[in-house]
């Protein structure tokens, strides 16, 4: 986070040894309140114009703006200062940079790339592992591409970010395992029954808790839902919401006998599902698995029901909370693995961008050598008129081979130095061979749109 106000705004990004020029300034749900995020956000229909405006205001090669309800981030490829970015941001939105400096964070180079990768992976989201953010990153990238503000380096980094997001979701279970009571009820039922299609769910009670759980089960596609309640009118109201049927408590034994999943969320002093009732309802079908969610306080399912030799799993609120806690731990464990994937991909991008930096130098070096060779060959051949075409070709090939072998070791070294970010030695080679110093890195295969406003 940017802790001081004003004076750090003029900080100039240091060009990292890795060759990564990206920097990101932004705020998210952790650093900023909703009130601040609202002021700093870009409306969806403003993002494209904002990208164009920013790149024409600051000295940058590329700009991407990611603006969602939980974060607003400005990614810049260039040597501009943070102050320049924030000044433009303040002009564009209602955001007061001096008042909300504490809400901002700023990352440069490798750390900016790591931040973007963590965002894409869902590691920086409110609900860890959520998938929506990946689509939002992709959308931001497409807008920048369409506006011609996505530089070669941003293009490479965003492509990698999308890859990281996909890798994390395929290789880890970070987005799996429910974290709310309603979702856990669905998850537990699925762990027992597999597909929920064709299952009969009986809901006892028609209050708010019952409604939340039954809505989740309905969304998950259960076959049939029956709401059983003391007051039939309330049961009908809930049943209508989920296209189910309604009944009174008098017919509970029949419904219990038909149920695969029972959701009990009623208030009462004594248990509603007693051992005797369960025995009566499950008679003759003891081996059929059933799941009972007892969401009532005090509990409405007698303790003996789950121990009576039936294939019945009874989970009360404490048990469900324990599953939620375990799911949270599982997600955290998967999160650790996701962080490793992010680390691997950051290294890969660093390597790739480092390689990009040295590409033009190598090209200039080889071009220069080839120019000298061609010139000297032409002079020599002009004095050797007696040579036939085949002999000339042999000479051409021999000199090309000399150049190739001579440059092989320097080129290998240049690539190695680029990987480790040893720009000093690369500069020295440029100086030694009198190569132009203003070589711009251009990634192979990536496009810097010609219609860029800059």
């Amino acid at each position: 986070m940017i802790g001081t106000r004003g004076e750090r705004n003029e900080i100039t990004p240091s060009r990292e040894d890795s060759g990564v020029r990206i920097q990101v300034a932004g705020m998210n749900h952790v650093t900023a309140s909703l009130a601040v995020r609202e002021r700093a956000a870009f409306a969806p229909d403003q993002v494209a114009a904002a990208c164009r405006a920013l790149i024409s205001t600051i000295p940058a090669q590329g700009v991407v703006i990611l603006s969602t309800c939980n974060r607003t981030e400005v990614y810049v490829d260039g040597d501009c200062t943070l102050g320049e970015i924030l000044a433009w941001w303040q002009d564009w939105t209602d955001f007061e940079r001096t008042q909300h400096a504490d809400a901002l964070y700023w990352h440069q180079g490798e750390e900016a790339v790591r931040h973007l990768f963590r965002v894409s992976a869902g590691l920086d989201s409110v609900i860890m592992g959520e998938t929506e953010i990946l689509g939002q990153v992709k959308h931001a990238y497409h807008i920048a591409q369409a506006q011609g503000t996505c530089s070669g380096q941003l293009h490479r980094v965003l492509q990698s970010a999308l890859k990281v997001g996909k890798r994390v979701r395929t290789e880890t279970g970070i987005g799996q395992n429910a974290l709310s009571v309603g979702h856990v009820a669905v998850e537990l039922a699925e762990r027992v029954f597999g597909s929920l299609h064709g299952l009969t769910v009986v809901v006892i009670g028609a209050g708010r808790t019952a409604e939340i759980v039954v809505r989740h089960l309905h969304d998950a596609g259960v076959g049939r839902i029956a709401v059983v309640n003391r007051t039939l009118a309330h049961a009908v109201r809930l049943a209508e919401l989920v296209a189910g049927s309604a009944d009174t408590l008098d017919r509970l034994p029949e419904w219990l006998a038909a149920a695969d999943v029972v959701v009990s969320a009623v208030t009462g002093e004594s248990p509603l599902i007693t051992h005797a009732l369960a025995e009566h309802a499950f008679a003759g079908d003891e081996h059929r698995p059933r799941f009972v969610f007892d969401l009532s306080v005090p509990r409405s399912v007698a303790p003996g029901v789950s121990r009576a030799g039936y294939e019945v799993f009874v989970y009360d609120l404490d048990n469900i909370e324990a599953v939620v806690a375990q799911n949270r731990r599982q997600r955290a464990r998967e999160g650790e693995y996701a962080e490793r994937i992010v680390g691997e991909e950051v290294e890969r991008v660093k390597e790739s961008l480092g390689g990009l930096e040295v590409g033009p130098v190598i090209r200039q070096l080889t071009d220069r050598a080839e120019a000298i060779r061609a010139h000297e060959m032409a002079r020599a051949l002009s004095k050797l008129d007696h040579l036939d075409a085949r002999e000339r070709e042999v000479l051409e090939q021999a000199t090309r081979l000399i150049i190739k072998k001579l440059l092989n070791d320097p080129v290998t070294s240049l690539r190695r130095w680029a990987k480790v970010g040893d720009h000093g030695r690369i500069d020295m080679v440029q100086e030694l061979f009198a190569l132009p110093a203003d070589v711009q890195s251009t990634p192979a295969g990536s496009k810097i749109p010609a219609e860029s406003p800059r």
Partner: protein
């Protein structure tokens, strides 16, 4: 050397596969080690078969080697293609390791020779389908074991590993029944082929020998299991435990009096 190499690879694969129950990302390493071990064992089996001049299934050690190879192959298939059954490797591979390790202790006593050769198509059908049936029964028992482990976690309300890694209970319940039924069909084919072989050799079929009686007991046990499922509604834990017990019957049959 090849045998030791493949056993080492299987041991490594089994250890990593069990580890992968806790850290699924390790599954790739388990698959790689398993693939390496399986290829080495396949190569050894081919060479051994060439020395024998036939399939290496005539003696108990040869047969165990083939079963271990089949079990390892099934593990690889489950871990590579069984989207919800990747964790099965953690259950199956230790079995393959035990079979192969026990076999390595027995194999030196088996020497290639003419007496090992299986002659006749029906005898091959008999041995082949019986071997396949045993492997399928083993798979059914392993799925039953997976069921009981996951069910135990759910019943104790202590979801740790199997809750996350294994398929839904009902899915495993159905799969184990399908495997048991499939195994029974192969088993009946083996018995039928055995009768034909017996008739062609001695002109009679006797059920009053230990092998035939055990085969009958095994058949009756699996038929009873399927009947209980169908008509008495046996499902879940009880059915899974029964399947595991039945496999012990099959194993005893083969290890003690299977060779006849």
């Amino acid at each position: 050397m090849l045998k030791a190499l493949s056993l080492a690879a299987y041991v490594a694969a089994a250890v990593v596969a069990v580890w992968a129950l806790y850290l699924p990302q390790r599954g790739l390493w388990a698959r790689r080690a398993l693939a390496a071990g399986w290829m080495v064992q396949s190569w050894w089996l081919v060479r051994f078969g060439q020395q024998l001049g036939g399939l290496p299934v005539s003696t108990l050690p040869e047969w165990l080697a083939t079963v271990a190879w089949l079990v390892a192959g099934c593990s690889w298939l489950a871990m590579s293609y069984g989207r919800r059954y990747r964790a099965m490797g953690g259950f199956l591979l230790p079995v393959a390791v035990v079979l192969w390790a026990v076999d390595l202790g027995l194999l030196p006593r088996s020497r290639p020779g003419a007496e090992h050769l299986l002659h006749g198509g029906w005898l091959l059908v008999h041995v082949g389908s019986a071997t396949a049936a045993v492997v399928v029964f083993l798979l059914a028992a392993v799925v039953g074991l997976m069921y009981t482990e996951k069910e135990r976690e759910l019943r104790l309300k202590s979801v740790e590993v199997f809750y996350y890694r294994l398929p839904a209970l009902q899915e495993m319940d159905r799969l184990s029944a399908v495997l048991a039924a499939g195994g029974l069909l192969l088993w009946l084919l083996a018995i039928g082929a055995g009768w034909i072989v017996s008739l062609s050799r001695s002109g009679t079929v006797s059920i009053f020998n230990a092998g035939a009686l055990w085969a009958l007991v095994t058949t009756c046990a699996y038929v009873a299991y399927l009947a209980m499922r169908q008509f008495a509604g046996w499902r879940g834990r009880r059915a899974a435990v029964l399947l595991m017990t039945l496999f012990v019957v099959v194993a005893v049959n083969f290890v003690t009096i299977g060779r006849h």
